[in-house]
C-alpha cells in the first residue's frame, strides 16, 4: 500500500529525513517511535503533502502511484489521513460544515452523490457515539478552544467520519487521559481491516497495549535504525533511547 524508498527531506536547507525506508501493506499496523526531534512528524507531514518541506531524494508509492506529486487534497481523497500532532484551530468554520464539505468532496471524487442532510447527521451521530465525543464539541468551530485531549479525540472523530485507507496518527495518544486513550484505541481498531493500514507515531508503549502493532520502527536522526515486532517497543521502554544512541555509536565505530 505504501512504499517509502530512501526518502530525504529538508526544511530551510537543513536535512531532517536522511533516507527513510518503509513498507506498509494493507491490513498492517505499524508503530513509529523515536526521540524528540528525530523527524517523525516531518515524515508524516511529507506524506500528507505539507509543502514547506523539500524532498531531496527518494520516492513514495501509495497504492502503486507516486504520492509526492499529488496535492494534499488529492492524497486525502485517495484515502490518506493524517492525525495531526498539533491540530489547528479554525475559528468561524463549524465542525459540521467542515465535515460535510470534506465528506462530500470525497464522495464527489469517487463519483458518488453528496450525502443528504439526514444521512450526514446520522453518520455524525454514529461516529460521535463511537468516539464518545460530546455534541458540545462538534457544534463548535473546528478545534476552537478545545483542550489538548479534546483536539486529539477530534482527530480520531474525523478519521472515523472519513474512513481512510491509510491513517497516520501522529502522537494522538499524547495528552490523553486513560478513558480517552481507550476510546482512541477503539476508533483505530474499528478502522482496522484487511484493506486498511495504520501507522501510529507514539512515545509510549502504553498505546501499543491497546493498538497492537505488527511492526515497530525506531526513527533516529532521520533514519529508521531498527525495526521489529511489538517486543521492540517493550525493549525501548525498558532501556530508553540511550540504548539506541549507544548502538548507533557502536555501529559507526
Amino acid at each position: 500500500m505504501l512504499s517509502i524508498k530512501n526518502l530525504k527531506a529538508s526544511i530551510e536547507g537543513e536535512e531532517i529525513l536522511k533516507g527513510v525506508n518503509l513498507e506498509v501493506k494493507a491490513g498492517e499496523v505499524h508503530a513509529i517511535m523515536g526521540p524528540n526531534g528525530s523527524g517523525k512528524s516531518t515524515l508524516a507531514s511529507v506524506l500528507a503533502g505539507r509543502d514547506f518541506y523539500q524532498v531531496n531524494a527518494g520516492e513514495v508509492l501509495y497504492q502503486g502511484e507516486d504520492l509526492l506529486d499529488k496535492s494534499p487534497e488529492a492524497r486525502a481523497k485517495e484515502g490518506l489521513f493524517l492525525g495531526f500532532q498539533y491540530p489547528i484551530e479554525i475559528p468561524g468554520v463549524s465542525m459540521v460544515n467542515f465535515m460535510k464539505t470534506a465528506i462530500n468532496e470525497m464522495r464527489r471524487h469517487r463519483g458518488e452523490e453528496p450525502l443528504s442532510a439526514s444521512e450526514f447527521l446520522k453518520k455524525m451521530r454514529e461516529k460521535k457515539e463511537l468516539i464518545e465525543i460530546d455534541s458540545s464539541l462538534t457544534n463548535r468551530s473546528v478545534n476552537e478552544g478545545f483542550s489538548g485531549g479534546e483536539k486529539k479525540k477530534n482527530e480520531i472523530f474525523q478519521m472515523a467520519m472519513l474512513e481512510p485507507r491509510l491513517a497516520i496518527l501522529d502522537e494522538t495518544d499524547s495528552g490523553l487521559d486513560i478513558d480517552a486513550l481507550r476510546v482512541v484505541a477503539k476508533g483505530v481498531n474499528n478502522l482496522k481491516s484487511p484493506e486498511n493500514a495504520i501507522i501510529v507515531i507514539t512515545h509510549y508503549q502504553r498505546l501499543l497495549e491497546y493498538i497492537v502493532p505488527d511492526f515497530v520502527h525506531i526513527l533516529y536522526k532521520g533514519r529508521i535504525v531498527r525495526s521489529g515486532g511489538k517486543e521492540l517497543a517493550m525493549l525501548l521502554e525498558e532501556k530508553g533511547y540511550d540504548w539506541v544512541r549507544n548502538e548507533e555509536l557502536a555501529g559507526k565505530q
Binding site: 503533502g49 487534497e73 492524497r75 486525502a76 493524517l82 489547528i88 467542515f98 464539505t101 470534506a102 471524487h109
Partner: protein, 455 residues
C-alpha cells in the same frame, strides 16, 4: 490645469448648477428642506470638495469621482417599471415593510407616507417635512449640520427627498423595515438624497438598507443619513452596498445617541467601484452603547474607504468598531477609525479593530487608528492587522480532502462571518451570509435577483 484650479473650477460648476436650478430643486422638495439650501451652498463655497491627501480624505480621490459629467435631475421624472419584475422580493407584506428609493426619490406609487402599527411613520422625507414639519424640524440638519465636510453641505443644498422613518416612544418595530435604494436610468446619473431616522425614547427598530444599481450606467450618489437615537432607544441598521463596479458612492451617517441608547450599524460592501462611508457618532448621555461595524469584500479595481468617528461626550459609554475586509486582485482601500474621549467622559470603554486579508501583492490597504483621549479613567484599545490566509489552517482543511479553492473560501467566509454574526435577526443574518458566500465565490455580479428577502 493645476489641481488647485481644477478644484475651484469643479466647485464653481456645482455652485452655478445650484444657482441655475435652485427654483426647480425647491419646487420639487419641501419648504422646510428649502430653508437650509442657501446657507448650505455658501458653506460649500467656502469648504469646497474634500481634497485627496487632506486630513480626512487621505486616499479617496473625491475630486476625480465628482468631476465626471453626469446628468442631474431635479424634477420628479416618472420612471416606469414593474417593481416585482425587477426586484423579486418575497417579503410577505410588501406594502408595509418595503420602502423604495429610486434615484434618490421616494417611490411610493402615490402613497408617499405610510403609517404602520404603533404610530410608526415611514416614507418620503419631503412629504414628512410637509405633513409633520415640527417633528422633522426638530432633527433635520441638527446632526449632519455640524459637519465640516463640503460634501455634506453639497448634499444639504441639493437634496430633495429620501427616506423618513419615525418610531414613537416605547414602540418596538417587529419586522425589519427594508429600504431599497435603486439607481436606474437611461443616462449616467448623479443623485443626492437625504434620510432621516428618528427613534424616540425606548423604541426599537431594525432597518435594512440595500443599495442597488439596475442599469449599467455610471452612477454617483452622495447621500446623508441622520439618525437620532433617543434615551433608551435601540436601533439596528444593516446596510448592504451592492452597486455595480461602474458606480461611485459616498455616504455620510451622522448619529446622535442619548443616554442608555444602543445603536448598531453594520455596513456590508460587496460591489461598487468607489465607496466612501463616513460614520459620525456622538454619545451624549451616560450608558449609551454603540457598535459600528463593516465588512468589505473587494476585487479588481474596487476602492473602499471607511471613515469612522466616535465622539464620547458623556461618561460611562461603550463603543466598539469592528471592520474586516478581504481584498483581491488590485483592489485598494482604507480604514480610518477615530475615537474622541472628551474630558468629562470618564469610564469610557472604546474599542476598535480592523483586520484585513490581502489575497495578492497588488492590493493596497491603509489602516489608521486615531485616539484622542482627554479623560483619565478610560479603557481604549485598537488593533489592526494585514495578513494572508492562515497557511496552517489551509493545509489542515486540504488534508481532509477539501480542494484548495474551497478551503480558501471556507476561511474567507469564516473571517467575514465574524462581522455578520453580529446581525441579530436570524433570517437576515442567514441571507447576508448567503450573499457573502456568493460574493466570495464570484457568483454575485448582478443583484436584481439577489432579493434581500428579509422577513
Amino acid at each position: 490645469m493645476s489641481t488647485v484650479t481644477r478644484n475651484i473650477a469643479l466647485k464653481d460648476q456645482y455652485i452655478s448648477l445650484y444657482r441655475e436650478k435652485s427654483g426647480e430643486i425647491s419646487a420639487n422638495s419641501a419648504p422646510l428642506m428649502n430653508t437650509f439650501r442657501k446657507e448650505a451652498i455658501t458653506r460649500f463655497a467656502s469648504l469646497g470638495l474634500p481634497r485627496k491627501g487632506s486630513e480626512n480624505y487621505l486616499y479617496a480621490d473625491i475630486e476625480r469621482v465628482f468631476s465626471n459629467n453626469l446628468e442631474k435631475n431635479f424634477s420628479d421624472r416618472k420612471i416606469s417599471f414593474n417593481i416585482k419584475e425587477i426586484f423579486h422580493c418575497d417579503v410577505p407584506d410588501l406594502e408595509t415593510n418595503l420602502l423604495l428609493l429610486v434615484n434618490g426619490r421616494f417611490y411610493g406609487n402615490g402613497k408617499m407616507l405610510k403609517k404602520l402599527p404603533g404610530g410608526i411613520i415611514a416614507g418620503s422625507l419631503a412629504r414628512a417635512a410637509i405633513e409633520y414639519p415640527e417633528l422633522v424640524e426638530k432633527h433635520y440638519g441638527k446632526y449632519a449640520g455640524r459637519s465640516d465636510d463640503g460634501l455634506v453641505a453639497l448634499n444639504t443644498a441639493f437634496a430633495q427627498d429620501g427616506i423618513f422613518i419615525y418610531v414613537p416612544r416605547g414602540v418596538k418595530v417587529e419586522k425589519p423595515v427594508q429600504v431599497v435604494n435603486i439607481m436606474i436610468s437611461e443616462n449616467d446619473l448623479m443623485a443626492q438624497h437625504r434620510n432621516l431616522i428618528i427613534a424616540d425614547e425606548d423604541s426599537e427598530a431594525r432597518i435594512v438598507v440595500c443599495d442597488h444599481t439596475l442599469s449599467a450606467h455610471r452612477f454617483l450618489t452622495n447621500s446623508v443619513n441622520e439618525i437620532f437615537t433617543a434615551r433608551g432607544a435601540k436601533v439596528n441598521l444593516t446596510r448592504v452596498q451592492n452597486e455595480h463596479n461602474g458606480s461611485s458612492q459616498v455616504t455620510h451617517s451622522h448619529c446622535l445617541q442619548e443616554g442608555g441608547s444602543d445603536l448598531s450599524t453594520i455596513t456590508v460592501s460587496l460591489h461598487g467601484g468607489f465607496i466612501r462611508n463616513n460614520v459620525y457618532v456622538r454619545l451624549t448621555g451616560e450608558h449609551a452603547e454603540n457598535h459600528t461595524m463593516g465588512l468589505y469584500l473587494t476585487d479588481k479595481g474596487q476602492f473602499i474607504d471607511n471613515f469612522v468617528y466616535i465622539d464620547h461626550a458623556a461618561p460611562n459609554c461603550f463603543s466598539n468598531q469592528l471592520y474586516k475586509g478581504v481584498l483581491d486582485d488590485f483592489a485598494s482601500g482604507s480604514f480610518n477609525g477615530r475615537i474622541l474621549v472628551r474630558r468629562d467622559a470618564q469610564k469610557t470603554n472604546a474599542y476598535q479593530s480592523n483586520n484585513n486579508i490581502l489575497l495578492t501583492d497588488d492590493t493596497r490597504m491603509y489602516s489608521r487608528p486615531q485616539l484622542e483621549i482627554y479623560a483619565d479613567d478610560v479603557k481604549c484599545s485598537h488593533g489592526s492587522t494585514m495578513g494572508q490566509l492562515d497557511e496552517n489552517a489551509l493545509f489542515y482543511l486540504r488534508s481532509r480532502g477539501i480542494d484548495y479553492r474551497e478551503a480558501r473560501l471556507l476561511l474567507m467566509f469564516a473571517f467575514a462571518h465574524d462581522v455578520i454574526q453580529n446581525i441579530k435577526v436570524d433570517a437576515l443574518r442567514e441571507r447576508i451570509d448567503d450573499l457573502v458566500d456568493k460574493r466570495l465565490r464570484g457568483e454575485l455580479s448582478r443583484c436584481n435577483n439577489c432579493a434581500m428577502q428579509c422577513g
